[in-house]
Every structure is written in structure tokens, then in C-alpha cells.
Symmetry: none
Subunit: 264 residues, 2 copies
Amino acid sequence: MHTAEDHAKLFMPLSRPDRSGAPKYVRLTNALIDAIGAGHWKAGDKLPTEEELVELTPYGLATVQRALRNLVDQGLVVRQHGMGSFVARNDLRLEDPWHCRFLADDGETFLPVFSKVLSKEAVLGRGEWSSYFAGAKHLVRIDRAINVNDEFTVLARFFCDASTLPQLADAPLQELNGLNFKTRIVRELHVPITRITHDVRAECVGEPEAHVIGVMPGEVGIVMRAAAFMGEASCIYYQEFFIPTTNRRLSIPDQPPNTGRNIR
Amino acid sequence: MHTAEDHAKLFMPLSRPDRSGAPKYVRLTNALIDAIGAGHWKAGDKLPTEEELVELTPYGLATVQRALRNLVDQGLVVRQHGMGSFVARNDLRLEDPWHCRFLADDGETFLPVFSKVLSKEAVLGRGEWSSYFAGAKHLVRIDRAINVNDEFTVLARFFCDASTLPQLADAPLQELNGLNFKTRIVRELHVPITRITHDVRAECVGEPEAHVIGVMPGEVGIVMRAAAFMGEASCIYYQEFFIPTTNRRLSIPDQPPNTGRNIR
DNA sequence: AGCGATTTGTACGTATGTATG
DNA sequence: CCATACATACGTACAAATCGC
């Protein structure tokens, strides 16, 4: 809970004349995002009602409603008729830098995945990744085992330059399990990802990879590569996924991840 | 251009009492999607202004605006301040309805491909495609053999509703060889494609497909599916590619940036 | 360059409907 | 049945971008 003063302070900037020229509903949207990001309301907490927001801010109902609808569209807030507005429990914006989701039987939802970090090491030699990180000095490779619905296991190899994602590259392995991995990427990414490329190949799986994904060396599996770029050429991260033969369909994301707000 | 009667007929259903219980802005959104899908307005055409829509429909300005904003969010419509609202034209996306290109050794250019139409037939039963074309009456399947750099052959199965691509569905086979195929799609498409999904699976190739791509039945190959949508739900075409095991990498086209999103 | 006319964009206040507890 | 709170909808007003004269 919060006092009236807390809220007054939160929304104080909205009363100042606007220098940025942004519409009111955008300013309110961002104010709420900031407050949630700062932990003023945590996942599951109830936000003020529409009426309260009309009181707390210098804005009218339509503006408040539009800001709230934006937050719903962004997956940050859930609204329940007759009950209230709540901070979403799962931050949907974090859903994407996965690139490795499999379609469930309904063809629409995705199978649950659990990832476990296997190793992290410096990359020394050359390989397919080399062309993506021309000039990078401290390349790091993080291997993860991704358990898909307890049906099979995917080996994910994540490559990045330690200088662009330092906290990720330096983190202890235990801190990167499960959701923490993608959470950290999203949080650390302070550059917009403007392009992502995917390619796919059927490949005879080599010895070390076969062991992780539970197939015999030499068996055919799918190898997918995904590279995320800022601008045209500079690669932010690059991943290789080794996927055993399965009747599940690998879904390839149809748009780049949304790395934050568009307008401030 | 259209007469007043055309429009009156278009929006007539909106005056009838609502049986579905859907909100007005949803009904109007769907009415506009249907009209665009039916070719009433083609890509690049100017839609009626907000005021005209208020006159043409039994709805108020806020409702009209919300429906239009929905269409913008779906990528189906582009609005330009002071000018009007237009059916989106996304030529970029249409530049490559191929979805099946393989990387050359340099990792950047693509291997040359030559396609040859094998057959065209009505689709009768049900299959994976059924979920994409709910309610379509005249489904057509066009099979093509795509020769990739004289190294291997891909079988491409193209599905569409004959009512959305009539000239393609009715064309003689000889006219669809080579580039003509994609040219015709681009020329005939009078609706913007706003979303493309891809998925990929390693699969044991069945008898008829194996014959075309030159492998033994039961061998493992890659099957890629690509579906192109107008708006959120209505599928324009759907393709299946049967790819033999190869050391070439299948490149999955990255999506063009979102035209004009209003989420903010 | 200016000036309307057109058209979208934002915003308000109000009213009413509907799901929840 | 009632209070709460979200959801939809209307009418109006004004701001801002664009075009043609």
C-alpha cells in the first residue's frame, strides 16, 4: 500500500508543462511503466482505479483509460472487469529473445521450456560465429540445455561479446538458469535490436552436441542459427540451437523482440 | 471509387441489431477487414474519412477512430495526418514470397533457384492447411519443384483460396514457371500482408514427396511451413517446403520493420 | 508565403452497460 | 440488490499536419 503522498509524488511530473511534446496518454503510460519498473507496484499488485487515476493526475478518464489499455497491450498490466487493474505476473515483453519455441498440439500456444546453464567459456578459435563478431576481443560462449515439455532436449549455444553484455558474461553460472537468462539479456540490452536473421539446416550431430540432446552421434538433427543485429551489421548476440529429430514444430518468431518503449 | 450505394450496402449489417454481442468498434473493424479482403478497397486506396464513416455507419467518432486504430495496429491500414487513411501497401514484404532461399558459401548471397510447376489441383480433404483456411470453399494446391543450384531439389506446395487469387488459381500451368509465379502473386495481391509465420520440422519424407526431391522414402528431411496473413487471422497463402538433407543453410527471411504502430 | 479546407490526433465530460464480490 | 470498477459509446472541442489555391 501507498500513502496519498506517495502517489502525489509519483504523478507530480505529469502536472508540469510538457517539454517533450508527447501526448498525455503517452506520458501517463510511461509514468506507470517507470513506477512499475522501480518496484512501486510489484507483480500482482493492484493499481489505482480509473477514477483514482483521474483524481491523482491532471488527466481525464479517456486519457487514463487509453494509457491503461496501452499497458495491457504491452502485457504489463492485466485488467479484470469489476475487480481492478493489476501488474501482470509474467512480464510478456521478456518472452522473446528465446528463438526456440515449439508449437503445442493446438498449433498456437507453445510448449513449456526449462533451461539450465551448462557452461560458460571464452571463445578462442574461429568458427561460423566469427563472421558475426568481426573485431570482437572477448567472445563468450554460454551453453544451455533446454528441456522442452519433458519430451526432448535442445542444446543452445549463445555467443556474445563480453564488452556489449558484460554483466551477462561475468555472471556466475547459477544466476543464469531458467528465466534469469532472458531477463538479464533484456535488462542489459540498452541498444535496439533492429534485425534478426534465422537459418536452418539438417545436420549430422557431432559428438559433444549429441550427448547433450540425447541422440547418437551422426544422427540427423536440425541446427538453427539466429543472429540479432543493431543496425545493419553489428551483431549483438548469436545463437546456435541443436535440435533432435522430433515431431514438434519449431516456430520461428515473426518479428524482432520489442526492446523497450518507443517514445519518451 | 465507389458510389454512395456501395458504401451503404457495405455497412448495412452494422445497422442490424447485434446478435454476437461484440462491441461496435469490433464490428466495424471486422467490416472493414472484410471489405478490404474482398477487394472493395485495394492496397494504397484511400478509405473514407472519419467523418464519412460516422455518416455511413450508425456509430460515433470515438468508435470509428478506435476501429481505425485497430486496423493500424494490425498493420492493415496506414493513416497520415491531414491526408487520410489508406490500405497499407507493403511492397517490401511482397518482394520475396519465396520463403525458400539457401545461403551460398559466402554466407550472404543466395544460391540460384529455378522452379517448375508440377501440378495444380483442387484441395478436397482436410490437412494441416485446413486450420489456415477456415471457411474457404475453393482451395487450390500448386506443386512446384525448385532446383537449387543444380545441387538438390525442393518440393514446394502452395495453397491458396481461389477466390483471393483467382487468376493464379486459374492460370495454365505453363504460365506459372520460373519467376512468373511470384510475379503473379505480387500483381494479384490487392491486400497487404501484415504477418508471416514460419515453422520448421525434421520429418521422415513420405513416398510422393520423396520422389520429387530425390531421396528414399523414410529418409529425414526438413519440412518448412510458411503462412502469410492479412491482419491477425485471415490467411492469404500457405506453403509447405520439403527439403532434402543438405549442407546448405535455409535462410528464413527476416521481417520488415513494422510500418506504423500506434502503441507507444 | 499565406490562408483556408480537409483530415487525422488528442482530450474532456458524461452516460450507460456489465462483470465481480 | 448493492457498491465497485472496468468497458463501451457519444458528442464536442481544439490542436496539428497536409494540400491546393
